[in-house]
Amino acid sequence: MSDYIVLVKQVPDVTQITDNAFDPETGTLVRTRLASVINELDSQALAFANQMKGADRGRDGKIIALTMGPPMAEEILRYSLSRCADMVVLLTDRALGGADTVATANPLAFAIRKIVKEILKGSDDYYVVSGMQSVDGDTAQVPPQIAEELGLPCIAYVTKSEFKGRHFEFTRIISGGSQVVAARKKPVVITVAKYEYPLFATFSASREANKTEVIRWSGDDIKASLIGVAGSKTSVIRVFPPGKSTRKCEQVGDAKTLARLIVEGFTSGNGEAGQNGQGQTSSYILPGKRTDRFDRGFEGTKKENENYKILAEKLGELGITEVGRIDDACREKILAASGKHFRKKALEDMINGLETTEPSYTGEVWVVAEHSEGVVHPATFELIGKARELADSLESKVGVAVAGHEIEPMAEELIAAGADNIYIIEDKLLSVFDPTAYRKVISDAVSSYWPQIVLYAATPQGRMLAPMISYRVGCGLTADCTGLDIRDSSRKSQIGILLQTRPALGGNVMATICTKNSKSQMATARPGVMKRLPVDESRKGKVIKHKVELSKDDISLEILKTELGTGEVNFEADVIVSGGKGMQSRDSYERLVSQLCQGLSKRLDTQVERGASRAAVEQGFVERVHQVGQTGTAVGPKLYFALGISGAIQHMIGVANTETIVAINSDPNAPIFKQCDYYIVGTIEDTLPQLLQALEEE
């Protein structure tokens, strides 16, 4: 009889965004103007825990829902009670507010300790279950960080559990496939990626829920070590609306016109990539190397930049060349001439800032490599490209940390992709990915060399490993970045820091984040967004062997079965035709996607591959290896066809580098229509035959 502690979170309902939710001045989505609901994956986690409890022998285990949030978060605890929870705990305290993932995971872990001690009477027969990520933060960091704080194994991206007499076997998503694993010991932290059957409220349980006492704990009750703003290791410096898509978003009335646009577009092909592609060269120059020592043109925000520009101009006019010579009279003159752009306090801060020219962080720029079966994940090469750019402007080196077994041969390829130093952590026990073992060895390497930046790919593996490592070494981490830039924040005496930009609230806002209270700046970056460098065989680099003691006890999971997608998939093809949930069935996916593939291949005389959204894969329309998107593969063909795909952000970021996106969907409000180039509103069954005919005639 196991007990279940389910982590739930109250989030803004991003599925019901109304006009008045946006700030009229800045155009930014204001989170508090949205209705609050339980995070959908957490409601699935509740159902998942309930189903585990039902499968377990005793069936009389308890389900305890835990949340941290403002007093109104009580609503989702009542939601949990009306479904299956036996007890609920609300962790609420003003002092806990403003927390990043570290300062969220830490108090939650301490609350779990208190639950275990006081409610479960010290039992270690329990599972911590939560949704894989929340829809507002989208980071997937909190559960692995809780596991790290509690010293528990973590099984992430779980879709299924099966009770095997004494223990559970879990099916989880991995890059390009799925895997069945079992934990070597309890307790375990489980994060649920998808569970189809969320529970319904019952009338009696709902009434009872409204009359049940919620256990409330404050910060003092749990004695957490990292809380609130002070305990956080990242801070948001700017929130802004996502840039207008450069996609054309053109509705096409008939198949004939679409066929013409496709053929013309494909044959003329200007080679320009899509919306999010980052430039390869950084313009950042360290302050010491700038021609003018008052040049502070690399500030974090636009406003700061402007202020420093004005200051530099005035100093030039006054003929001042050294910071020490800015006297009181001079300050008065500058203030008078500043045109109210800044006041006295700000000027003092700026002048102080001018004195700092040394970078705030030192060390290399690292990439943690991901690989399986001897093959390096493409995202690793993309990150090396980005790391190269960052390291060059910081006048530093690119290091790549690789953990595994028989991995030395990879070094050559990594150097050719732009790396300088390859840190090899070789051990037979690392022959397959185990989060607990991998996080141990890589943390050890990080804290031996202290790189200034560590980048991970935001793949299922990276999104689980990075939070554990960052928590273990006490550094901040930003998830799923789409932009990484070096900038200064001179007024805070921060020089050469990493600005990490990422979408939040389901892609409805963008946030720029920087690291604080950390020795290293860490980020995961979305695959397919950064660009790899051309292979340069002539590059030279060093291989450094880093030795870490490992024993069998460091392995937390038993891997029972790995199923990588069968069949070869060529996502390098020029054209990819993807089907989503709107394809209705495996048969119609098979029939319609194949027809269009053949039609396009014949007409355009090129290679065409089949893709799918996660929903389509979950429905069993096609094997997982065809999945495009955040948990699948990021692609960048010349032409991407989305059939019956709604356009969830997780899917769209996987096709960001596509040249032309064409969508067909029967739902006139499908979000994909705002993120594609051409679209037709209509059913696939009706539209495709017309399109195929038009393609033949075109």
């Binding site: 189903q51 479904r83 019952t202 009338f203 009696s204 709902s206 029967s666 739902d667 006139p668 409000n669």
Partner: protein, 555 residues
């Protein structure tokens, strides 16, 4: 999950958190704070399934609010919901696509001579969003301690051996499309209650089941109208030009043109909302004869009339919805043949479920609220003898203003139905003097005639349903049932070309492989037109899982 069955028992169960049900809960909590009052509602939130014009005669609401929230006039909610007071009342007669005549003087004349239609004056009333009003009433009810349980749909009423109602059965949850139990299946619970108040709105499912089980009778068939409404964001200039204190009712084009046709009963509306929003709606008697008619087509024509276009051209539809209105009036109220009670024993029928719409005023909201208040009083007086509640309720309502006005409006709608708008409307002036008579059911009126003013382009139902924000869990059995598909194939499609495909405002029905099917049940707006207008009475609307349906916010 029923850990504790004591939670399945309540003293008073109100089915439906609309204006009638919530007025009842509020009044009852004021009169008897100690008893537990529970309101169940199939929508996700109070107000989400409420749609109306809506002109609200203030009296009953004021009385209720004065009792429940003495300082309500100062509340933010009151300022928001009751912001628009009507001062200017226009009745337009539209002739063709361009001409419009204001015939308000005729209504005033009617009033002066004490004729029935003189009641159709709205000065001093509120122009409200009923979704917002209902949401507000839901909050008041909760604040007073009533349990408002949303997302729970009632499937049927349970009658015990003694003939009294024991409670209601809720809808099963977690069945898949084929009706198999999924792993999260929960059988619909039985909620036991001393009193059951049916306030489901128009054509209530449980109400109709109760009418049959308890042997209630109507002197005349229920008659309905179908209404479609859009909330349009217009320019500040257009909004100002229309005015915030004005309502427009229109008749004539595009549903009725004397002598040369078309000949349908109904009318259209333009009401002001808040901040540059106008509501535009079309209401058509469901006894239309054209097999290819759809209320939304008439709405399109109305919006294109030059009188209307000036106010909305270039505007953006921000919300939309459709519903039916019970128009049978006095003779169509279901009563117990023995006692004449509206309901029976411990079961009372409220608001639109009973049919308290006054067709002379073309308003029912005030009567719905009033009926809820009277029902609450009846319950409060019958706590020791629940079986006498329905009789008490009927007495109270007949003594109230609602009773009198329903009596004065009797026969109006039947007269129009029988003689057609041209002769029927003047005849209806005689109102209650005409003998009581019955007319055919709405669906029997369908003929092979076609609507001549059909717009060239099909109405965009997909956008319409998207604006209603309707959704249902996809993987559940269709809640719409065609009883005999043979009838569709051999009789309806050849003769009438499957009117359901056209008249359903949500585009639920489609022909798939030569069979008419409720192909998109998840688009359903819960208007129930299909079960009242299928020419062969071959469609049944059942209740989907709770929490589904439209999500009206400002309708």
């Amino acid at each position: 999950m029923a850990k504790n069955s004591q939670y399945n028992k309540v003293s008073v169960l109100i089915v439906g958190a609309g204006p009638a049900g919530l007025a009842c809960a509020i009044q009852l909590k004021c009169e008897k704070p100690e008893i537990d009052v529970c309101v169940i509602e199939k929508g996700p939130d109070p107000g989400n399934h409420s749609l109306s014009g809506a002109v609200l005669e203030a009296e009953p609401l004021h009385t209720l609010l004065d009792l429940a929230v003495p300082d309500w006039r100062d509340s933010d909610a009151a300022k928001d919901v009751l912001a628009n007071v009507i001062d200017k009342d226009d009745i337009m007669f539209l002739l063709g696509k361009k001409l419009a005549f204001n015939i308000f003087f005729a209504i005033e004349l009617g009033k002066a001579f004490g004729l029935g239609f003189g009641q159709m004056i709205h000065k001093g009333d509120y122009s409200v969003s009923i979704s917002k009003l209902t949401k507000w009433m839901g909050q008041i009810a909760k604040d007073l301690g009533a349990e408002v349980m949303t997302g729970f749909a009632a499937k049927d009423i349970i009658i015990d051996e003694s003939g009294e109602a024991a409670g209601v059965k809720l809808v099963d949850q977690g069945l898949d499309k084929e009706g198999r139990e999924q792993t999260n299946y929960v059988e619909g619970e039985i909620v036991n209650s001393d009193f059951v108040l049916l306030a489901e709105g128009c054509d209530g499912l449980v109400t109709e089941s109760f009418v049959e089980k308890a042997g209630l009778q109507r002197k005349a068939h229920s008659l309905f109208s179908v209404a479609a409404k859009e909330l349009i964001k217009v320019s500040p200039e257009q909004y100002q030009k229309f005015g915030t204190d004005r309502v427009v009712h229109a008749m004539g084009y595009p549903i009725w043109t004397p002598v040369i046709g078309p000949g349908m009963f109904g009318g259209s509306i333009i009401y002001p909302g808040l901040q540059d929003h106008l509501s535009v709606g079309m209401i058509v008697g469901a006894d239309w004869k054209y097999c290819d008619f759809n209320v939304q087509d008439a709405l399109t024509n109305f919006k294109n009339h030059s009188f209307v276009r000036q106010f909305i051209e270039g505007g953006e539809v921000v919300e939309a919805g459709a519903k039916m209105i019970p128009e049978g009036g006095c003779y169509a109220i279901p009563r117990d043949p023995a006692t004449g009670s509206i309901g029976k024993g411990n079961v009372m029928i409220l608001g639109d479920s009973a049919g308290f719409v006054n067709m002379l005023k073309i308003k029912g909201l005030h009567n719905a609220i009033n009926s809820g208040m009277q029902a609450a009083k009846a319950v409060a007086e019958s706590l020791d003898a629940p079986e006498k509640a329905a009789v008490k309720y009927t007495e109270l309502i007949e003594q109230s203003a609602a009773g009198e006005e329903m009596e004065s409006a009797k026969n109006f709608r039947q007269t129009v139905a029988k003689f057609g708008p041209l002769q029927g409307m003047p005849l209806s002036v005689l109102g209650g003097l005409l003998p009581e008579f019955n007319v055919e059911k709405d669906y029997e009126a369908t003929t092979i005639a076609r609507y001549r003013l059909k717009p060239n382009q099909d109405f965009d139902k997909d956008t319409f349903t998207a604006m209603a924000a309707t959704e249902h869990r996809e993987e559940q059995p269709s809640h719409l049932r065609i009883l005999d598909s043979e009838v569709c194939r051999t009789r309806c499609t050849p003769k009438f070309d499957s009117p359901c495909i056209t008249f359903c405002p949500a585009g639920v029905y489609e022909t798939i492989h030569d069979e008419v099917e409720p192909a998109n049940p998840s688009n359903c707006l819960h208007c129930k037109t299909c079960q009242r207008k299928c020419p062969f009475d071959n469609i049944r609307w059942t209740v989907p899982e709770g929490g589904g349906g439209p999500r009206y916010k400002r309708m």
